[in-house]
């Protein structure tokens, strides 16, 4: 039934494009767009950000370890501190930019589909 409907549409509709553009529009478009683009503040390449965390974790652990040992020796029999979790956070701005066209609009599209 759907195939017939599509066949019917093919007969009734011309696939001719009724929309026109001004002459030379596409030729000029790229030049005109590039002239308007701001300088990009390039995010550092992903690898740099990721490698920061192990160093932070190591440094933080060392500090805590030394501190714990010091506490242990100065307060014999006292409770030992739990080593802290190092938590370097990746910049929010980077994650927002990554989320922007990877995820956000998909939810909208799903929502529209469910509605209709």
């Amino acid at each position: 039934m759907d195939m017939n409907e599509e066949k019917y549409l093919n007969e009734r509709m011309s696939k001719q494009n009724p929309f026109r553009v001004p002459e030379g529009y596409f030729d000029d478009f790229a030049t005109q767009v590039m002239a308007k683009l701001p300088e990009r503040e390039s995010q550092p390449v992903t690898a740099k950000r990721v490698s920061f965390r192990p160093w932070m974790a190591v440094a933080a652990s060392l500090v805590v370890a030394i501190f714990s040992v010091a506490v242990y020796f100065t307060q014999m029999g006292g409770q030992q501190e739990q080593p802290q979790q190092a938590s370097a956070t990746v910049s929010d701005a980077y994650m927002d930019a990554a989320a922007d066209y990877a995820m956000i609009d998909n939810a909208e599209i799903y929502a529209y589909f469910v509605e209709n």
Partner: protein
């Protein structure tokens, strides 16, 4: 585009030293096909041009979020369609709040110097424009561009089954538009 060319382009896009030059190549390569996606949704050249500026600016600003997944074209199409649908939604919201009498899409098109179709074509465009966003988008991509459902699924991040269902509903509605006139 051959995939080794695309790989090279993506490498250049990832490198701040060659990024701008590579992006210009992207704009030259894709702007025409993206334009027609946009134009079919927003309908007038003036609006399509405005949306295209936004599309390119967003692509440029969000280049970093393009590291993963898809093909360049999939990502660009997604931006173009989202920008276009956002544009018409804002337009609809604004016209609902305005006290002016809306001329209607068909009449607006007939008055548009960059629309070459006859009255039937203008009314057809109005019928398509009245489809819900997803149906309209799927209809355009499938009927006019013959886009495969697999590719469409990546652009719209919706299952192929759901897209096919959407398409068939859209086809039925557009057929009904013609049947009413027959």
């Amino acid at each position: 585009m051959a995939s080794s060319d695309e790989k090279r382009l993506m490498e250049m896009l990832a490198d701040p030293a060659t990024q701008r030059k590579a992006f210009e190549q992207v704009v030259r390569q894709y702007s025409e096909q993206l334009y027609w996606q946009v134009r079919r949704i927003v309908l007038t050249h003036e609006d399509a041009n405005d949306v295209m500026q936004n599309v390119m600016l967003k692509a440029w600003t969000n280049l970093d979020s393009f590291r993963q997944a898809s093909k360049l074209s999939t990502w660009l199409y997604r931006i173009a369609i989202n920008e276009s649908l956002d544009f018409v939604r804002h337009q609809k919201a604004a016209s609902m709040m305005s006290a002016d009498d809306d001329a209607g899409i068909a009449n607006t098109l007939m008055a548009d110097e960059y629309f070459d179709g006859d009255e039937t074509e203008a009314q057809l465009q109005e019928a398509i424009a009245q489809l819900p966003d997803v149906q309209r988008t799927v209809f355009n991509l499938r009927y006019y561009d013959n886009m495969k459902y697999g590719e469409m699924s990546k652009v719209l991040n919706t299952s192929e089954g759901a897209l096919k269902a959407s398409y068939h509903i859209a086809v039925k509605k557009i057929s009904d538009f013609f049947k009413q006139r027959d």
